[in-house]
Amino acid sequence: MNAPLYPNQPLTEVATEVKFKGNLAVETVRADFQSRITEQYPILLVPGAQQGIAPPLQPYRFEREDRLAGIQLAINSFSYYSREYPGHESFLAEIENALGIFSDMVDSIEVTRIGWRYINAIPFTRENGLLPLSRFFREDTIFGDSFKKDIRDLSYRVTLPIKEKQLNAKLDCAELEQESGEEALLLDIDAFNIKEPALSMKPLTALEEINDLHSIAYETFESLITDNYRAFLKGDNDD
């Protein structure tokens, strides 16, 4: 699916992830994996000790020099993320490349969950002390008509089935930093599919489902926003 890349997009993070049953083969291929991707992702970040979380489940992170995209690998998960979304085709090509390398190194994995997540931080200023929600969002099947009301603070979360998969949608009003006065509406869209029982597959074969989940996340975002806000995102008045 071709999704337009908006010049004024509010995306701050896009991530896709394949979770699988713990597979110790990951421990043995991690060094080879690093050597295959190190030219593009030269920064290695390792997790610190965390109480209550088993060290093998904490992913190693391989990041680009500019820190804007990277890969995470643990014995039960593979994820790819970008903080400067280059558009769906480029993003998918990067996932395909990384998953392909991972696929070369493990026979198969027992997939338990596949997900695609968009996180949008939408800057706004209040109007008469209220959130200008109806400027950005329209009445829809996810959040209903809540946006017509006068609202000062917001933390909204729903999980619902959609197209035989599932969707976590979350909308929060957040102050970005203490005392900065900078606020944003955080719209977090997480389309995912739980595999129960786990499905044995080569990692690269998850790509088709990743694509489907992207479509759900994208269509959800488009269904939520007003036409005027979409025109702003397109940069219609930016020269």
Binding site: L44, A49, S79, D188, N237
Partner: protein, 141 residues
């Protein structure tokens, strides 16, 4: 999610990175580490703060062209918020993003009146372009 402990770079001696200083509201909004969410270990809320220097585009809902809100770049520099609207060559500033946007809105109102009051014959080519742009503006409710 990176709300509790951050990763450490392996190619440089550096302190553990923390999220101190970021609002609890933001931390709560993004969720806790270990939640069943895609990429729950990835997100790094420190990015949200660092991006303010690069600036963000805010829609200016009160002033539109063809129903589309104008786009104002707002950024933080030297302890103050600044706003820019290149298309109309107007700028503003303030102690908060809202003040900076209110300031640029005030300048728009001023120059809209100014350009409406002067003849195109008296203006340079660029000023004539601005006069034309200001004439396209409509005030929303």
């Amino acid at each position: 999610m990176m709300t509790n402990v951050a990763l450490t770079r392996t190619d440089a001696a550096c302190n553990m990175e923390t999220t101190a200083g970021f609002s609890n509201v933001l931390k709560r909004a993004l969720g806790a580490r270990g939640e069943d969410r895609t990429g729950a270990d990835i997100l790094d809320i420190r990015d949200f703060g660092s991006r303010k220097r690069a600036g963000k585009k805010y829609p200016l809902w009160s002033v539109r062209v063809n129903h589309t809100p104008l786009s104002v770049l707002v950024y933080f520099e030297d302890g103050r918020w600044f706003s820019e609207l290149d298309w109309l060559n107007v700028f503003g500033d303030g102690q908060t993003p809202k003040e900076a946007i209110d300031s640029v809105e005030m300048h728009i109102a001023h120059f809209k009146n100014y350009y409406a009051s002067v003849s195109g014959d008296e203006l340079t080519e660029y000023a004539s372009t601005l006069k034309d742009r200001f004439s396209q503006l409509t005030q929303a409710e």
